[in-house]
Structures are given as structure tokens and as C-alpha cells.
């Protein structure tokens, strides 16, 4: 897949070969197919749990905005950077806005 310009309109799907656990508020995510694992801090762990729950980044953004005192642009950048990292490590796949309409 070519490098995508991710936006909050994307939906994130967690790979079927991906498992994760929550260790006292910090998640570790493992791709069983590649063996790559990633550790997340508390904020990253909250974003990960919301991705698991909603998938749609706009929803994730909305909940995070309610829970954290942070400038919207800063929050958006944080979410998109994390999703980019998850995607680069094969832990999630991304559905683009136009692809969602085709479903």
C-alpha cells in the first residue's frame, strides 16, 4: 500500500493477527504474523482502546477532546501520528473516506 495521507475521516481496522494487552494503563501490541510489537504510553493506550471501540478516527478524536485538555490541532496531530506508526508497523489497516461510501 502506498503512503496514505491520513485524516480524521479515516476508519482504522485492527489486523486479525494483532493482539494487545493493557499493563496497568500502558498497552503492548503485537503483530503475530511479523513478530513486531509496540508499547504505548497512557495517552497512546487510551487512543488504542478507542480505536478498538469505534474504529472511526473522528469518533476517537471526539472522545479524546472531552477527556483531555488539549488544543484540537495538537490532539489531531497526536492521533494521526500514532495511527501512522501503527499502520507502518502492520498493526492496523486504514479505510479511506471514499472507500467507506462504497461499502
Amino acid at each position: 500500500m502506498s503512503k496514505k495521507q491520513i485524516s480524521l475521516e479515516f476508519v482504522v481496522a485492527i489486523g486479525k493477527d494483532v493482539v494487545s494487552c493493557d499493563l496497568e494503563g500502558e498497552a503492548v501490541i503485537l503483530n503475530l504474523a511479523s513478530g513486531i510489537y509496540l508499547g504505548l504510553n497512557e495517552v497512546g493506550t487510551r487512543i488504542w482502546s478507542l480505536i478498538q471501540e469505534y474504529g472511526a478516527l473522528r469518533e476517537v478524536f471526539g472522545v479524546m477532546q472531552q477527556e483531555y485538555e488539549v488544543a484540537p490541532k495538537e490532539l489531531e496531530i497526536d492521533i494521526l501520528q500514532l495511527v501512522d506508526q501503527l499502520h507502518a508497523n502492520g498493526l492496523v489497516s486504514l479505510v479511506q473516506p471514499q472507500e467507506r461510501g462504497k461499502g
Binding site: L23, E24, L30, L32, G35, Y37, G39
Partner: protein, 350 residues
């Protein structure tokens, strides 16, 4: 194959009901007519049972419900056929080669020393013996080769050396060359017995995690052997790839049964520590501990999803129940005893 646990104990243990050593170089090679022998010996190590055609320096074990691995002496033709079909790759350590075969079995070879064929199920290891010492052969059999059988059987070995302090196991985790055995030797000097050197098998029950005893020997550089184990002179060179000696341990120096795991110490890389740096011990957060455990698994060649899932689950359980400490210290002789005292205080051994 005929199992003779009772008579085997008598044969192996003239002076002890449980334990004895076999002389080095006493094992017949594959051409010595034993290939078709029905003789077998039963040993216990890492909490499993070995049913072996080969005499080993291990405690005897009676037949039980323990997981069992069969050790057979292979014919030269069996190995040459495998080598002909396989694509050999160098081991990550740079010493020896391996091949993951299409039928799920694994071929391992250390030139001049040994070769092994581990079955897909992990229930059988076929062994070929090189001209090196029997002690060196056993190091590779009971370490690298057996680790494949353990993993294939659903067990998860850690790259760890462990000692027992007041009945509690303390595990040292770290890559090769990080000083696990050296640190353990300092505990032997203080009278704390060795549980295992290099490969640790843990099992969990309702009361926690328990570590199981490995072979009753330790691998050490000569300088450290002279420093800490003056009574254990006469070690055997391990292989051409290292100056380390294989030193047999006396009964009083080994812990012969499983022990509850008290704590895990992750040894910081020697390259990260300066010679004049102070010793430090930092309790790792669960996520850091988790990653340390995954990084210190024994045998990184088997990476199938089932194993990774098992590792993930095991590490999750382990960090929830056992404290994991990162310890940094300069790799100079004097610091080993200081680290030992620090650990003893932590565990409540002094």
C-alpha cells in the same frame, strides 16, 4: 525402547540415590553400534523427562506424567540426507547453522561438535556427535537443541540464569555475553545454589510461578571460575567459539527441585555501562518489564504465530505477578560481589 528408571538410578548413582555424573567422553559415537540399541536412560531436567539413548550428566528421573522428549542417536546417513535437502542458514550468534525443514522439523549443526534433528512435534531429538568433548556436546544438546523441542511442545524458555536464595528463585535475564553466569558464580561463592544456567523454564500454578532446575553445570570464563569456584577446577572447554569452560557443580551447589520465582533481574547491556558507573537497580514498569521478557526469550528462530501468542500471554501473566528489576553495573570483578549483596538484600537473604 526399554525404560529402566530404577536400574538406571542404580547405575548412574553409586554414591547417591538421586544424582551422579558420567565421565566426560564416555559416550559412544554414532558408529559405535548403539544406533540400533534399545538401551535408554531416563533423566529429569527443566521439569521435563528425557528418555535418552545417550548417557548424560543429569539427575535420573522415574517415569511420570512429565512431558517427555526422546533422545536418539542418529545414523550418519540420516543427517547427510537432511543436509542434502536443506538450505542451511547461519545462527544469529554466528556460530553454527540451522535449517527449518518443510515437514516442521529443525536441523541444527555446530561443526566438529554436534548436529541435531528436532522433530516437528518436539517429542524427539536425533543426535549426531562430533569429536568435541561430551560436556560440550551436552551444552548444545541441553541448550539450543532442546530449546526447539521445548518451544515446539508448548513451553516457553527464557534466556536466563537463576540462583536460589533461601528457597526462592531469582532469575537473571540477558543476552549472551551480558554476564548472567558470572553473576550467578558470585552467588555460588556465597553458598546460594544454582537453579539453571542460560535456559529457564517457568511454570505457573495458583500459587505463582516456579522455576525448574537445569543441568548441574555452569559455563564460565577461566578467570571467573578461578575467582568464584576454586573447588570446581577441571572445567572442559565449551567449543572453539569461546574460551568458556563447562564446570560441573557439586550437589551442594545446585538446587535439584523447582523453586518459587521471587524476582527477575534484567542485566543491562555491558556496552551501556561505564567502568566507573555506580551500580543501579530500577524496578521496571509493567510495559518495560513485558518488553524485556519478550526480548529475552530463548530461541528466536521459531516465530510462528502460535508461539508469539503464547509468549504474549505468558509475559502478561509474569509481569503481573513477579517484580522485574533492571540492574546496571560495570563489568569489573569487584562489582559482581556488590551486585550480589544488593540482590541478597532485595530478596531478604541477609
Amino acid at each position: 525402547m526399554v525404560s529402566r528408571p530404577t536400574s538406571m538410578q542404580a547405575t548412574l548413582a553409586p554414591s547417591s540415590a538421586r544424582f551422579s555424573m558420567v565421565e566426560a567422553n564416555s559416550m559412544p559415537g554414532p558408529d559405535a553400534g548403539l544406533t540400533k540399541s534399545e538401551t535408554s536412560y531416563r533423566y529429569g531436567v527443566y521439569g521435563i523427562s528425557l528418555c535418552s539413548q545417550i548417557l548424560l550428566s543429569l539427575p535420573g528421573a522415574e517415569k511420570s506424567d512429565l512431558h517427555e522428549v526422546e533422545l536418539k542417536i542418529g545414523s550418519l546417513s540420516a543427517f547427510s540426507d537432511v543436509v542434502y535437502r536443506a538450505t542451511l542458514k547461519s545462527n544469529p550468534s554466528g556460530w553454527g547453522q540451522h535449517a527449518l525443514l518443510e515437514d516442521g522439523s529443525t536441523y541444527l549443526r555446530w561443526p566438529e561438535l554436534a548436529e541435531f534433528l528436532v522433530s516437528a512435534s518436539g517429542f524427539r531429538i536425533t543426535c549426531g556427535v562430533g569429536p568435541a568433548s561430551h560436556e560440550a556436546f551436552q551444552v548444545y544438546l541441553l541448550g539450543q537443541a532442546l530449546s526447539f523441542a521445548l518451544v515446539k511442545s508448548g513451553l516457553e524458555p527464557l534466556h536466563s540464569t537463576a540462583v536460589v536464595i533461601n528457597g526462592k528463585a531469582v532469575a537473571f535475564l540477558g543476552n549472551s555475553g551480558f554476564g548472567k553466569s558470572s553473576l550467578a558464580a558470585s552467588f555460588l561463592e556465597a553458598g546460594c545454589p544454582l537453579l539453571t544456567d542460560d535456559l529457564l523454564i517457568l511454570r505457573q500454578n495458583g500459587k505463582g510461578f516456579f522455576g525448574y532446575p537445569g543441568p548441574p553445570r555452569i559455563k564460565l570464563f577461566p578467570k571467573l571460575a578461578r575467582e568464584f569456584l576454586k573447588a570446581n577446577l577441571g572445567g572442559v572447554p565449551m567449543s572453539n567459539g569461546t574460551q568458556k569452560l563447562v564446570l560441573r557443580l557439586f550437589e551442594s551447589q545446585i538446587h535439584q527441585t523447582f523453586a518459587p520465582l521471587h524476582s527477575i533481574y534484567v542485566l543491562d547491556s555491558p556496552r551501556q555501562v561505564f567502568r566507573k558507573q555506580r551500580i543501579s537497580a530500577v524496578h521496571l514498569r509493567p510495559r518495560e518489564a513485558f518488553v524485556s521478557l519478550l526480548s529475552n526469550t530463548f530461541n528466536r528462530l521459531l516465530t510462528d504465530p502460535e508461539r508469539l501468542r503464547r509468549q504474549f500471554a505468558a509475559a502478561t501473566q509474569l509481569v503481573a505477578r513477579v517484580p522485574v528489576v533492571m540492574i546496571s553495573y560495570p563489568r569489573i570483578l569487584g562489582s559482581l560481589r556488590e551486585v550480589r549483596e544488593l540482590v541478597l538484600r532485595d530478596v531478604g537473604g541477609v
